[in-house]
Amino acid sequence: MAGCAFATNSRHPGRQRLSTATVPRLGRIVVDDKGRTLYLFAVDPPNRSTCFGACASVWPPATTQGRPGASGGVQPAMLTTLARTDGPRQLVYAGHPLYYYQADTGPGDTHGQGIVQFGASWFAITPQGQIQATGSAHGGVQH
C-alpha cells in the first residue's frame, strides 16, 4: 500500500474526477482521481445520503467543488452530485451517494468492502453502477 497514513479529507476536494481501477478480489471498480476506492452505503435511498455525524467522520462523503469529471470506464451519464448540509456537494454514481473509508490509506485498499458499520453494509461499486458483491475485507460479503 502506498500513500500517506493520514485520514481522508473530503472538506476541500477541489474538482473531482472519477475513474476505474482493477483491484484484487473485486475486479473493476469506481475510484477517485487518486485511485482511492469509493463505496456505497446499502441503506441510502436513491440520490440521498443517510450518513452524517460519526458515520460521515468514519465514511467521509466523496465530494467535489465544481462539476465532476469522468474517465476510464466511468459513465458520465451516471455521475451526478447531491447537496449536503455539512460540506461540499457529494458525488453520486447511478443514484448511489459515494464515500471513502478512513481505514483505506492508498490506492487499491478495499478494507471497507462488505463490512457492516452504522447499521448497514458498505460495498464498492462497479462501472455499471452496481454493487460489487464479489468480495469482502473479512472473507465474505455480509448482509
Partner: protein
C-alpha cells in the same frame, strides 16, 4: 475566632472535593473517547484512532492519580525534582492537576481544529451530542482543575 476556624475548615475541604470532582470529569472524558473509539469505529482512522486510545488511557491514569489519597503520591512528592518546583512541588496532586490541564487543553484544541478544519487530515462532521459532551466535560475539568491548583497551592504556603 470560631468563625475564622470554620471558614478555614470549609476552605480546607474544598481542594479534596475539587480533586475528586476533577477525577470524575476525567473519567467522563475517557468514557466519551472510549465510546467513539469502539462504537463509532474511530479505531479505524489513521493516527486519530491511536490518539483516541491514548486519550482513554491518559484520562484514566490522571483520574486515578487525582482520586488517590495524598499518601499514595508520597513517592512523587519525595522526588527532588518535584520538591524543587515552587509551590506545586509541595503538593504532588497539584502537579498531576497541571498535567491534566495541559492534557485537556491539547484534547480541546485537537477537537476544535478537527471541527473547523482538519487534524492529521481528519475532519469531524458536525457538533453532535458526543462532541458537545466531550467539549463540556473537558472544559469543566479544566475549570475544576485550575480551581484546585489555586486553592491547593494557597493552602500550602
Amino acid at each position: 475566632m470560631a468563625a475564622s476556624n470554620t471558614e478555614r475548615g470549609a476552605g480546607a475541604l474544598a481542594p479534596p472535593l475539587l480533586r475528586r470532582l476533577a477525577a470524575l470529569l476525567l473519567f467522563g472524558v475517557g468514557a466519551v473517547h472510549l465510546y467513539e473509539y469502539v462504537l463509532d469505529h474511530y479505531h479505524v482512522i489513521p493516527i486519530i484512532g491511536v490518539l483516541f486510545a491514548a486519550n482513554v488511557v491518559i484520562s484514566v491514569v490522571l483520574g486515578l492519580a487525582l482520586a488517590a489519597p495524598p499518601e499514595s503520591l508520597r513517592l512523587l512528592g519525595s522526588s527532588p525534582v518535584v520538591r524543587s518546583l515552587p509551590l506545586v512541588g509541595r503538593a504532588p496532586h497539584a502537579l498531576v492537576a497541571l498535567a491534566g490541564i495541559a492534557f485537556l487543553l491539547g484534547t480541546l484544541v485537537g477537537l476544535v481544529i478537527s471541527e473547523q478544519a482538519t487534524f492529521f487530515g481528519f475532519h469531524e462532521y458536525g457538533y453532535r451530542t458526543t462532541v458537545w459532551l466531550a467539549l463540556g466535560l473537558e472544559s469543566a475539568a479544566i475549570v475544576v482543575l485550575a480551581a484546585f491548583v489555586v486553592l491547593e497551592t494557597r493552602l500550602r504556603p
